[in-house]
């Protein structure tokens, strides 16, 4: 009894201490909530983590298509106890009906998270029990001569799974090729992207894109500008903000989380007057060596203008295509697109970083000019034409060729440098009333 009391007291003290630190959150994010989750990452009360094993809270954010979300129940069960699920700005989840519903902005979410977390740390709220049934996926117990499911040297399903098979390799060795499904919810890849990768060692020998998660189409300033002429200033600030947010993501993936947080913070309330601060950030990014020494050393990852001729990816490869050139307001501003040459990973980094500065410059000079509104817009990822899927949707088709032969870390760098959007990673459902 006395021992039990000591433990209870200890748990209370630990709980009180733990409350003053950030809540580790693993986020499963739909396309329309990606920016909201990024803003959540700016809050000190919360830390977005890369694996469910480090998280206390599973956050399911944004609107998905009907039916279960791929991998969600599995991830829920991979969170250590005490765990809690929060559903943010979306419908009740079919697989986790007990998830706490929160509607509203980041401030409201953080308040609710803090309250729930305090309760669960104090033991007032029970941790969620596992969702999936406690049964083996494959029958293996008691099977085979040793009762572990295996047979012979490499056969059978020891402990429930088979061993990988051999495959020939470019250097003549025939060693194991391990098929792995990575994603759809892993910090190392963009949200929703599921890749079926064949790994031999740390090298990728084959890539297939897995089934896509259904999400609701995000609506941003560029989509609205398809129908309504929109101030150039607003569009260009949005474009700069988009690229800064992309930069924040890729910086975190390359181990520069502090610089990533700075980029997010700048993007959060960006205005044309922030140009000097943005240039300081970009200079810090260049000095970090990430472009010259890291992504610049990747062999491969080149996207030619023939594959994607539009947007920063196309321009990084030397395509001069830019819908802004045809717009009168931009012509008045003497807009000339930044054009790269090589079309490799480093070129895409340089392209977007140059375009951030250019956009802020345009925004500062734009005055009251408006642009677009006639069914076609130069978005941050390239040309958007109303009622057509954007060009970025075709990026996924080239992914297998781009990634095959790369080391895993290089492949992750290349994937992130493409700035894949929901049209590439997911099945996009348009709001009812609109056609595809």
């Amino acid at each position: 009894m006395a021992r039990a009391r000591v433990f209870v007291g200890l748990k209370e003290t630990l709980g009180r201490l733990a409350r003053s630190g950030p809540i580790p959150v693993f986020a499963v994010t739909a396309a329309d909530a990606i920016n909201a989750v990024r803003d959540l990452g700016l809050r000190r009360e919360v830390e977005i983590v890369a694996t469910p094993r480090h998280a206390s809270v599973l956050l399911v954010a944004g609107r998905f298509g009907e039916g279960p979300i791929a991998g969600l129940s599995q991830i829920h069960d991979q969170l250590p106890l005490p765990r809690l699920t929060v559903r943010w700005n979306g419908e009740v989840l079919a697989e986790i009906p007990q998830a706490r519903l929160v509607a509203g902005d980041v401030v409201e979410l953080v308040d609710r998270l803090l309250a729930l977390d305090a309760e669960i740390l104090a033991g007032a709220l029970a941790s969620e029990s596992p969702l999936l049934p406690d049964v083996d996926a494959v029958e293996w117990r008691g099977v085979g001569p040793y009762g572990h499911g295996g047979s012979g040297m490499t056969g059978g399903t020891p402990f429930g799974r088979p061993l990988a098979d051999r495959a020939p390799d470019r250097d003549g060795l025939e060693l194991d090729q391990l098929p792995v499904s990575v994603g759809p919810w892993v910090g190392a890849l963009p949200a929703g992207l599921e890749l079926h990768v064949k790994l031999q060692g740390d090298l990728i020998q084959g890539v297939e894109v897995g089934p896509k998660v259904a999400v609701m189409a995000p609506v941003d300033a560029f989509v609205r500008a398809l129908d309504v002429p929109t101030p150039v200033k607003l569009l260009e600030v949005e474009r700069a903000r988009h690229h800064l947010r992309w930069l924040a993501d890729v910086l975190v993936v390359h181990g520069l989380s502090a610089l990533g947080l700075w980029a997010l913070r700048l993007a959060h309330d960006l205005s044309p007057s922030d140009r000097s601060e943005v240039e300081r950030l970009l200079s810090a990014v260049r000095k970090s060596g990430v472009i010259k020494l890291v992504v610049g050393r990747i062999r491969g990852g080149v996207v030619s203008p023939g594959v994607v001729g539009t947007g920063p990816i196309g321009r990084a490869a030397g395509s001069g295509d830019d819908a802004r050139l045809d717009d009168q307001s931009y012509q008045e501003l003497q807009f000339q697109p930044v054009i790269g040459e090589t079309g490799d990973t480093a070129a895409r980094w340089n392209q977007r970083m140059a375009e951030v500065v250019q956009s802020l410059d345009l925004a500062a000079r734009a005055e009251e000019r408006t642009a677009f509104g006639s069914g076609c817009v130069e978005g941050p990822r390239g040309l958007i034409v109303s009622k057509q899927p954007p060009a970025s949707a075709s990026l996924l088709e080239v992914l297998p060729t781009l990634l095959t032969g790369l080391e895993w870390g290089d492949a992750v760098s290349v994937v992130w440098s493409l700035d894949l959007d929901a049209f590439a990673t997911s099945v996009v459902l348009l709001p009812s009333g609109t056609e595809t």
Partner: protein, 117 residues
């Protein structure tokens, strides 16, 4: 030697203390996990295969080079201690030894042994 005894004591004590801390953690939060809770994480889709496989390292050339240089390191330590005592002779002798080994590095570099095979 007494010093190394202390080193051993420090090592064992730390390992044991950490082990005890983890044991206490398990007592505070008893570990009974269901099968799905134990599935390895790779983004939500359970793996089809065991991750343990005949892992193809791409730097086997470098690994073999390391074996040779590890041997060289053994000679360097006693050399460093008698360096001043023996004077110029020691410098020249070790330089010769190292230059011979450097040929191996240059050769490996020329054969692109340091890039991923």
């Amino acid at each position: 030697m007494a010093a190394l005894g202390s080193a051993l004591a420090v090592f064992l004590a730390t390992v044991l203390a950490v082990g005890a801390a983890k044991w206490a953690g398990d007592v505070l939060n008893p570990v009974t996990l269901t099968i799905p809770e134990r599935v390895p994480f790779a983004g939500g889709i359970p793996p089809d295969y065991h991750a343990w496989n005949r892992f193809h390292i791409r730097w086997y050339t470098m690994a073999l080079l390391f074996l040779a240089f590890d041997m060289e390191m053994v000679f360097m330590y006693p050399w460093a201690v008698v360096f001043i005592r023996e004077g110029l002779v020691s410098l020249v002798e070790m330089m010769m030894f190292i230059l011979i080994l450097l040929v191996g590095i240059v050769y490996t570099w020329r054969e692109r042994g340091f890039s991923w095979a």
